[in-house]
Symmetry: C2
Subunit: 515 residues, 2 copies
């Protein structure tokens, strides 16, 4: 196998606060390495698929344990590479990542992942005897996980995408994000320790370094069966084209491409608790430096007294914000560029700015702009996600804003703030938005995705591609396919389907059509 050193491309991470490169160098993976990695993945897949599925639960729990054991080092390195706060953000993000892995382990142990369905034989049925039919779900094969920039741990090389794939029985080939290679290297080592401890082949998890070219190679590799990506719409579109060019289609292309997460305020809600809502909105726009895919990017506020008072309160609260450090100097530069382009549009003006930029090399000054419904519909730029502490406020008559809700594209979330006596307007808005979003919120704010059984984090195109949530319990649905055994001798059945299965995974027995 080729050594990484044959690659001519070395790179270093950048500290977004100082703007200086960090000392450790990483090598881009070569074509040969990528190919050898996929071959190893497929070999590991074939070994692991013969193991009882419980082995994957044990692996996930062990990975969570290893990550937790390395928490200090991982969080410290991630803070250096991302500028995110170790204490206020990354420590919690690591805890959450471990929690997610344990949730997936529990879903394997409970049998939710395998979703066993058994129909027993009925030799006396006429006109034809009924066979014994037993179904479970199995992994599709090697899954490429492309790390997100904004969640170095929760959607890093072993976050929600990778954990759900491992739960499904799929080996993971993780493409390291060039913003945080050192963090990912520490995590990859923790995962390898867990693999060694649990007897799973080391090829069941691999990390690949690179940028566009290497990513495309992974997406187009003949042995790749699924791809999970969280990132920008631009990159998502490139990945879709790359997937379309494959001769064997992917079984799953899961893209989460961001969202504007429109927020609709009705006058009664503003009258009742306008100042509370103003500070809630400011917090939601600033959370994680405005780099959350659930950040409210379009805010709809009614004309009239309540709306005007709300904008005043919003503006005043927003002016007290300070400039966050974005994930890289490049992001900060893109942010300034986007803000300038938006402010150059006729009909768009500054509603409020945060405090002057800090000395950070990746500082982004918070900005709220305001516009009217006509301008909003005329200028597509106002309906594009801006990564950073920015949002667009659209002020107009409530009926006009309700009409705009019908024009919304696919979104991860939408939010409605309504008072008790505005339920008819709220119902109309909700009905229009239900067809456009993955999650509909009332009286709250969209950032933060609860890790519960009922969560959905996905949405109609162009916010996402794929019919499953990409965050939370059921995100493993993406990497599974049904496999059915008919009239199989008991000793040849996989343990999950065996009559004396000690895990009692079978939830259904004997539902059949007497045809």
């Amino acid at each position: 196998m080729h050594s990484s050193l044959e690659s001519s491309k070395a790179y270093q991470a950048v500290n977004p606060i100082t703007g200086l490169t960090l000392s450790e160098a990483f090598m881009f993976s070569t074509k040969q390495e990528i190919d050898a990695t996929l071959v190893e993945s497929m070999r590991a897949f074939d070994i692991v698929r013969a193991m009882p599925s419980i082995a994957r639960a044990v692996l996930l729990e062990e990975i969570a344990g290893q990550l937790f054991a390395q928490k200090g080092a991982i969080v410290e390195r991630a803070a250096l590479e991302t500028g995110l706060s170790a204490e206020n953000r990354l420590s919690g993000e690591l805890d959450r990542t471990c929690a997610v892995l344990r949730i997936f382990a529990a879903a394997v142990r409970s049998g939710d992942v395998q979703d066993v369905r058994i129909t027993t034989a009925d030799p006396s049925r006429t006109p034809k005897p009924r066979p014994d039919v037993r179904r479970m779900r199995v992994g599709i094969g090697p899954v490429v996980v492309i790390e997100a920039s904004n969640f170095p741990l929760a959607f890093g090389i072993i976050g929600g995408d990778a954990g759900s794939a491992l739960a499904a029985g799929c080996p993971v080939i993780a493409k390291v994000h060039p913003f945080h290679p050192g963090t990912s290297a520490l995590i990859a080592e923790a995962v390898q320790i867990a693999l060694a401890k649990t007897g799973i082949p080391s090829g069941f998890f691999a990390a690949i370094h690179g940028r566009g070219e290497e990513t495309i190679s992974l997406v187009q590799h003949p042995l790749t069966r699924g791809v999970g990506f969280t990132g920008s719409r631009t990159v998502g579109m490139v990945l879709r084209r790359a997937a379309n060019d494959r001769s064997r289609p992917l079984d799953e292309l899961s893209l989460e491409m961001g969202s504007l997460n429109p927020v609709f305020f009705l006058p009664g809600a503003l009258a009742r608790r306008g100042s509370e809502l103003a500070s809630g909105l400011v917090e939601a726009v600033l959370l994680g430096g405005g780099q959350f895919c659930t950040k409210p990017g379009n805010v709809f506020v009614p004309t009239g007294g309540e709306g005007d008072a709300f904008l005043k309160a919003l503006s005043s609260a927003f002016q007290r914000t300070t400039s966050p450090t974005l994930l890289s100097p490049r992001f900060a530069e893109q942010y300034r560029h986007s803000c300038k382009a938006l402010l150059d549009l006729p009909g768009v003006s500054v509603l409020a700015r945060g405090e002057e930029e800090s000395l950070s090399a990746s500082s982004a000054r918070p900005l709220l702009v305001v516009t009217d419904p006509e301008t909003f519909m005329r200028e597509p730029l106002l309906r594009e996600e801006v990564f950073g502490p920015f949002s667009v406020v659209v002020q107009g008559p409530t009926e006009v804003l309700t009409e705009l809700a019908l024009q919304v594209e696919g979104e991860l979330t939408a939010t409605i703030h309504a008072a008790q006596d505005e339920q008819l307007s709220a119902a109309r808005l909700a009905s229009a938005l239900a067809a456009k979003v993955g999650r509909l919120l009332f009286d709250g704010f969209s950032p933060g995705v609860e890790l519960c059984d009922g969560i959905n984090h996905s949405g109609p195109w162009p916010s996402a591609l794929g019919r499953s949530t990409v965050v939370g319990t059921t995100s493993y649905e993406r990497w599974l396919r049904p496999l059915c055994y008919q009239d199989t001798p008991a000793n040849l059945l996989p343990p999950e389907l065996a009559p004396d299965n000690p895990l009692d995974l079978c939830r259904r027995v004997d539902e059949t059509c007497e045809f």
Copy 2:
């Protein structure tokens, strides 16, 4: 709206037995009609998604009732258009179609389709209160169903694909197969009666006439969200390319493109019940005129005494078969062409033929060819599906045949026949085949798909595309996406998610991660 009469393309069905065109003429749908149909579909989708989901169960039951009421006329017309036996085949196929619709209705009533998951709020949780999170599954939007040629009822305009889409809450635009437009017209009328009776907008179901051009228009229409297709690999590939060219991707492209359904015989099984297996295999190859997607197309027989005796029995049983009528004179011509091309290959010889061709215009003389493993691997033609009463027998040492199992492409099914004392060989074969198939059978034959909860009818590429079964209970999975309501006032929740939901659809309450 344009009238069908403006279309210049009229067509008539052909009676495959007489080869004569049937009198009634049908018009290809125009571009304008297709566009107007999709707009109507989306309108109907928006109306139906606001209805309680139980409305779809009532509709499906009503459609089953209307089909059953029209059974005589539908079966009679289908027999004329397809050459299939009214009594021995189509009558049962109609019953089965009605049964499938009722299974989908039951899945809506039981809540399996909606898959509700509720996590209730916990205001006391620290550090942040837990929100109320309620998830259900909703339809993706308009689904184009492309009728199969070989199951005019079960996979006709209102069979498994269309029924599962309606269950999911998706309007159906069915592309009529040009072999049986009269059958489809009768069914479409029955469906419209059911829609009118149950208060569902008529646009929730539509039939489109056409061939390639019209099909591509449907697949590429911007309002289309899903496509279901059962047919040939060639057409499946064309549909994939058409889908790739969309600017908004489909949420689901479900292709079932046929299969070789390899059958592996081990010597012990042949020794114990060779002649029974020989007649079973002959029946499986001839069922439906050899036009089942589960027909055994590649049969692996060991060298040695048991294998030789089996081939003798097989040959003798096969010679007693008679020539079936295929679905059209064109299919019969293609069949003769394929047989000739296969017999022209060096290393391929006739094992047995059925009795001389009948007077039917679409008659196909049954043919079994035999070859060796080397020829089998060398000639790709031997690994391509032939529609009709044909199969390829490969004779070789069992170890070599087991190696061939590793080379198999994605298949809908594979079958292993092994005796009690051959379980180690069977286990090795099963392990190799489990990664390649959707359904693994023992000691039986693959044609016939039991309509039970545990069935899977799909398989890895190139037998199918899509991660769900396309036949049976859970085939509705293809047309659903999750939709989550967070902190929603009780009076704005859809009935399925309401706290006092009388259907008690909620299977899970309160599973969450205390993070």
